[in-house]
């Protein structure tokens, strides 16, 4: 694997929080490389640091120790503005609780990140339609989240994550709020994204879901 194939490289990465006077080591001494186009599942019990590690890989947070490179850039010393740029243009996020804006339609939710990235109107319109069609919701464009099922909401969230044509998908327990059958269809969709060339890092505590990954990284006690 050449260095240009590496999308994420973590060397001794750690993240420590302060909760009042208490110090919490959420992630400790993680060494991990994720190649372009790879599907990595982070497995482990609740509180083992999966979400914290995803936040670091997704440039939402910065490590307190070690070195972390995402897309070849050192995240450790990166400004908030630059991290926001990377998140907007190169990383797509899929959350357990979807986080769709309830007052916008499915179409508008997908369109929103493209407006922030200043994608021309005609292009974003076409892309939002195509993405919703791709996730099987062409008939739900004008529906608001409360008019959709859990599975449909997660599909809209996936379409939204893809709207700015990212290289990396960060999925945090994407099936956590779904029944087994719906969850399976969402996982299938995420697997298809990888087949399309995207890199996927997914946190899950479900061994069946984790098995979809090319590699399963087991986390325990803040260590990978």
């Amino acid at each position: 694997m050449t260095s240009s194939d590496i999308l994420i490289r973590a060397e001794g990465v750690g993240k420590t929080y302060r909760m009042g006077s208490e110090r919490v080591d959420a992630v400790q001494d993680v060494d991990l490389s994720i190649a372009r186009g790879e599907f990595v599942s982070l497995m482990g019990p609740s509180g083992c640091g999966k979400t914290t590690l995803l936040n670091l890989f997704g440039c939402i947070d910065v490590p307190t120790t070690g070195r972390l490179h995402v897309f070849g850039e050192d995240v450790t010393g990166m400004t908030e503005r630059r991290r926001a740029e990377l998140r907007l243009n190169r990383i797509g996020f899929v959350f357990q609780r979807f986080y769709l804006l309830p007052m916008l339609t499915a179409f508008e939710n997908v369109e929103l990140p493209m407006i922030e990235s200043k994608t021309p109107h005609r292009e974003r319109d076409a892309r939002a339609r195509a993405l919703l069609e791709r996730v099987g919701l062409a008939h739900r464009l004008r529906h608001r989240p409360h008019q959709l099922s859990g599975g449909e909401m997660q599909r809209v969230a996936i379409a939204r994550a893809l709207s700015n044509q990212p290289d990396l998908i960060i999925a945090d327990e994407p099936t956590g709020e779904l029944d087994r059958k719906t969850g399976a269809s969402i996982l299938k969709l995420i697997k298809e994204l990888q087949s399309g060339g995207l890199t996927v890092v997914m946190a899950t505590h479900d061994p069946h879901a984790a098995e979809l990954g090319d590699r399963v990284v087991q986390m325990e006690g803040a260590r990978a």
Partner: protein
Amino acid sequence: MMLRVAIRNVMRHRLRTLFTVLALSMAIALLADMRMLAHGMEKTFYRVLSSVGYEVRVCPRGTLPFATDAVIDESGRVVDALHADARVDRTLRVLGTTLHVDSIPVFAMGVDGERQSLYAVIAGKDLPDRVGPDRAVELLLNENAMRDLHVAIGDTLTLQRDAPGATLAFSRGLRTVVTGTIHIAFDLPGQRTAILPLEAVQQMRQAGDAASFVLVKLRSDEGHLVPLDEQRSVAASLADTFPDLSVYAMDSLMEALQRQLAYFKQFALILSTISLLVTFLLVAVVLTIGVGERRGEIAALRSMGFRRRSIQAMILSESALLLAMSAVLGSVLGWFLAGYLDGILTQSPSLPSGYRFFIPAWREIATAVAMSGVAGILAALLPAIQAARVDIPRTLHEEVV
């Protein structure tokens, strides 16, 4: 799009938005009305002053016209001196007193001057320039006096200085004939006013050559009022000529009025400040609650790469929307409330009928809306900054937990 998101956010809690807009509208209406309060008095006072048609007033030292019973003792000498000034076109001496017809009091003004514009004759004819030795004194009455005294043009009236039965009543009456009906801009509501020759009133008051004040019209093209600068300049030089009298240009009378209105202005200032504070606090509270409720959504937007500036713009747009809706309603409410309050206050018996407290004015409403807008935007700054600085990992974690 952020505006669209802001609109949808505002419409998300319709009842909350409705109550907020109603409360903000009232605050804007109150602010607009407080700005109109006292401005109406200033405007109408200036209008009445202008309609009287004299630029300069010469009064007993330290007094304003009819503010006290003080008089200028040798008013004829003053008028002669005034006419010696080439800038003076004409003068009108006025002596005010209360006379009686039987037991009914009438406010009488004796006047002496040519081409007067203190009052307007609306029926009949004006007073003659001179009083004939053997003729009944001619008299002009306003409509209130005509009605209350049951007289018409051509009728005779006997005026007494004192009411019947008063101690030291002045026994000799003045026989007059009514020759016209007049209108005076600064009459109080219901006031009975009579205009007589100055000499007749001086005799009734046994006041020699006295006058309450002298009105001075300065020379100008086509009889218009001369500019304020010129008024001030003439008033200053007349003040030098008559050091024992007070000489007022129109703007110094306005200043005197403004001093008298200081209480109104203070009152208006306090209520305006309260209104702005209410706007500030209301917007701050509503937006802080809104941001608190949507912390998860905001954190998700931030995690997706939305810039802090975009989040701030969204919250500020919500404030602007609330204020825009309130501005429309508050403007209409302020306009009608001003009219209603003016109707109540102008019924005061001590206020001349042409005077107003509130004059509905779009300029004042626009200023109130602009001030409320600034207060609302300032109030939105803190919740906007809070929203933009939301701790993404912690908030998302708390939302899931």
